[in-house]
């Protein structure tokens, strides 16, 4: 927020390819010395989850099982074929020496990209703060995300 021309990303998708694009943009902005903030909501939360099973109620536990989080567990938005696509993508990325997703997230953290988890979707899906990686900020809402967005040069919804 100090800079006024960085980026804010709203990461709603939890697909490997979309999350990768989001981290790429955030890293690019941070590498140009600009502020970058990422707001993770709904499926996007998977990218900042530790990967353990979540939920307390029956539905939430079912969702936690079928929609398990963790950066290495998420698959591409197309051609996933129950995980085969994810494996294939990882092989292809490796062959072309593309930085793995987890490494990208680490780079984003190192460059000071701010991670904001969405309180509301955490509530709905019964994901607790301790189910998320330690580097994320306090769970927050739309006003906090918009405060970042109003002070950014660009906002992306992914």
């Amino acid at each position: 927020m100090k800079d006024g021309n960085g980026v804010t990303l709203v990461v709603l998708s939890g697909d490997m390819d979309k999350v990768m694009a989001a981290f790429n943009i955030a890293i690019g902005s941070a590498a140009a010395g600009k502020n970058s903030a990422m707001f993770f909501t709904f499926w996007g939360l998977k990218a900042i989850q530790k990967g353990n099973l979540t939920g307390k109620s029956f539905f939430a536990r079912m969702m936690g099982l079928l929609n398990r989080g963790g950066i290495n567990r998420i698959g591409p938005s197309r051609f996933n074929f129950g995980g085969i696509g994810r494996w294939m993508f990882k092989q292809m990325m490796n062959a072309h020496r593309i930085t793995p997703l987890e490494e990208l997230r680490k780079t984003a953290i190192e460059l000071g990209v701010k991670f904001m988890p969405c309180q509301m979707s955490m509530e709905v899906m019964e994901i607790r703060r301790e189910d998320l990686i330690d580097e994320v900020g306090e769970p927050c809402g739309v006003a906090t995300m918009l405060e970042e967005a109003f002070n950014s040069g660009a906002t992306f919804f992914i």
């Binding site: 010395g33 600009k34 072309h96 020496r97 930085t99």
Partner: protein
Amino acid sequence: MTLEIKSDQTINLEGLLCPIPVVKVSQAIKNMAVGGVLEATATDPGVLLDIPAWVKSTGNELLSIKKEDKLIRFFIKRTK
């Protein structure tokens, strides 16, 4: 006759793809003194557009960027 550019530091970005080259460049520039010149070699053709764009958004100076066969070599001067 070609003008030789003297660099204070050289980094190797060969084989690295977007967004890592700009990350490495920004980290190297950050650790340099103002006025210092960074030399880098890369193979990702994307840097031909990305490095000039990065320099523009950060306000540093691109002294030269050239493609020598498969290798791309560029020099950036830290200006602030």
